[in-house]
């Protein structure tokens, strides 16, 4: 296995491919890219535009810096579903405790670290992971919508599948993550 030691993040070629840097991205590009990244085989997650865009002005008409949004752990769709979220817990610069866990992918020598306190949902976490460890091109053909399976080691030392428990319970017990190939 070759180690590619570049200064850019492993996912940066993916970002360039999707045209998601500081330029305004076209809806089509985004849709295709995100559809490939998601764990669920069912309908795409909330912020992917469905066909028949209803022109509701929700398309980021300004500058869309994807990585920046990922790092803040914020969803593109604000306030949906309509559940109350404590603002104090979601405000950046608030008294958030950093919660870094190591992430390794099977067969990849270099691991990464992800700060869970910057994420507020599994959706956000998977997005970050998919950028840190993007799916290879040939994989994209066989399983259209699924990302790799992700497991985590909990406080008891057991390895569990990520996504089984409510998010708040997960972030309290997770010790490290492993992405299966």
């Amino acid at each position: 296995m070759e180690l590619e030691l570049g200064l850019a993040l492993p996912g940066s070629d993916l970002i360039a491919e999707l045209g998601l840097s500081s330029e305004k991205s076209t809806g089509m590009c985004r849709k295709r890219g995100f559809d490939n990244m998601f764990y669920r085989a069912t309908s795409p997650p909330l912020f992917v535009q469905k066909d028949g865009d209803d022109g509701d002005g929700d398309d980021d008409d300004g500058h869309f810096n994807h990585l920046q949004e990922l790092n803040l752990g914020s969803r593109v769709l604000v306030g949906w579903p309509p559940v109350r979220v404590s603002r104090r817990k979601s405000e950046e610069g608030g008294k958030r405790r950093v919660n870094c866990v190591k992430v390794n992918m099977e067969g990849v020598a270099i691991g990464r670290k992800v700060d869970l306190s910057l994420h507020d949902s599994y959706q956000a976490l998977f997005l970050t992971l998919s950028h840190m460890f993007p799916k290879k091109q040939h994989d994209a053909e066989e399983s259209d919508a699924a990302y790799h399976k992700v497991t985590y080691e909990d406080e008891d030392g057991d390895w569990m599948l990520v996504g089984d428990v409510p998010w708040e319970a997960f972030i309290q017990s997770v010790k490290r993550l492993k992405i299966l190939n």
Partner: protein
Amino acid sequence: MVRGFGGAAAFPDEVWELVFSFLAADADRNAVALVCRGWHRIERRSRRRVFVGNCYAVAPAAAVRRFPEVRAAAIKGKPHFADFNLVPTDWGGGAEAWVEAMAGGWPHLEELRLKRMVVSDDCLELIARSFKNFGVLSLVSCDGFSTAGLAAIAANCRNLRELDLHENEVEDNCLNWISHFPESFTSLVSLNIACLEGDMNTSVLECLISRCPNLKTLRLNHAMPLEKLVSLLQRAPQLVDLGTSKFSADHHPELLSKVESTFAGFKHLKSLSGIWEAGPAYLPAIYSVCESLTSLNLYYATIQSPELLKLVSECKNLQRLWVMDLIEDNGLIAVASSCKLLQELRVFPSDPYGVAPPISLTEHGLVAISAGCLMLHSVLYFCRQMTNAALLTIANNRPNLTCFRLCIIDPHTPDYISQEPLDAGFSAIVESCKDLRRLSLSGLLTDRVFKSIGASANRLEMLSVAFAGDSDVGLHYILSGCKNLRKLEIRDCPFGDKALLDNTSKLETMRSLWMSSCSVTLGACRQLAQKMPRLNVEVIDERRGRPLESWPDDFPIEKLYIYRTVAGPRSDTPPCVWTV
């Protein structure tokens, strides 16, 4: 016009005051005040309760001047969508102006209830010092204050009966604020501190509870360990409404029997909430109170289905149930057969962002409830799938629904069997439920559903719409129908200028309209504001820095909040808000 038929002059004022005192509804008192100058004068001087649904609809000084003898006031600030972070944090809703006016004009004020307002510690201190007979403070969904402000309330309000803090964002900088209640203080009847995050000094709390024999409601925060909770509760067996703290601990037979005996000692308990992180070990200790419960809130109890099912099946007299979707369809079917007196059901999503394996809570659970619970009138239901057939069944089963809020989590979700929009289902709801006062829509919806709502929802007062409709016609149907509509909140719908401009006078009959991520332009807002001087048309835009005046008419509005007011444009708008 003939003067009198007895009229105001025939009886002394006191007689009319007594007659008016039997009118509980504000609407009735308002009507009385319009009859003649005499009645207006008598009514205003004898009104004791005031409700201000929008703090900017009237100037505080005007309200205080008109009703000089008010003893109880309730005021609301931010729009409802502030609960979901759609309203900028600095938008407004500050309580200072009101508290200052009340401190000056209503020295005999006894009760103050604020909702979605920004309340500073200074405000709390002013409240604590200004009203000698202050008895009830209720803060719901407020922010801006800390436990230092609460300490001022505790220290100064000698006759405080009720301190109700519900879902507020409170800074914790005074850990021992509870100890500021003096030793001589014994009047507490209701204490709700569930939203506070910090640890409480248990012995101080125990002391307080022991010396307040009239305490009926106690809702604690999650911080107190179970052993300490138990010793606290043993001091208050007379409780009617209990919100526990953390309900889990390492398994200990001695502790378990203490919990059991404590709960067995509650002879009057009707309402139970809290039960944070309930573990299967201690949950059965609650069973002894289940039969007497009329209200059960399991929002914080991440209990899984088998235990959950057993618990709710014991609650034969339940009228209100708030629960997570972990209850699943099976659990709701059990509720439908056990809880025949159920009036209000709320089912919340345990995993709103939906990446975990799906919970088995579908439309079937709600249909079962609608069939089995004949007294059901209020529903809030989060789920991932729905059919028109299910909604039709629910509508036919429960024409007595007054509140129906359905949230299908993924926007634009159609009937999953027919793939049709859910127009037919929601239309059935509004056509069958003639007394429907509150409705929230979700799923795939076209303009057709709005036609039905506009035509049939005659008692509807509040409507929430998201990701629905095809065109302006949808909004037009609503604004030209819905005779009693008071609050309309819309997000991410293709509604725009025409519907607004064709229905300008409707907006003055409503309390407020919120529209975000729709298709309204600045030009329409300008026209609307020009035409309707008694509306405040607030344009909210957090993106740009340039002033409103320089933007062109076709500029798309990000967020729009329109409300009727007799106070004119407000003077406390932040940089991101412009009153057009």
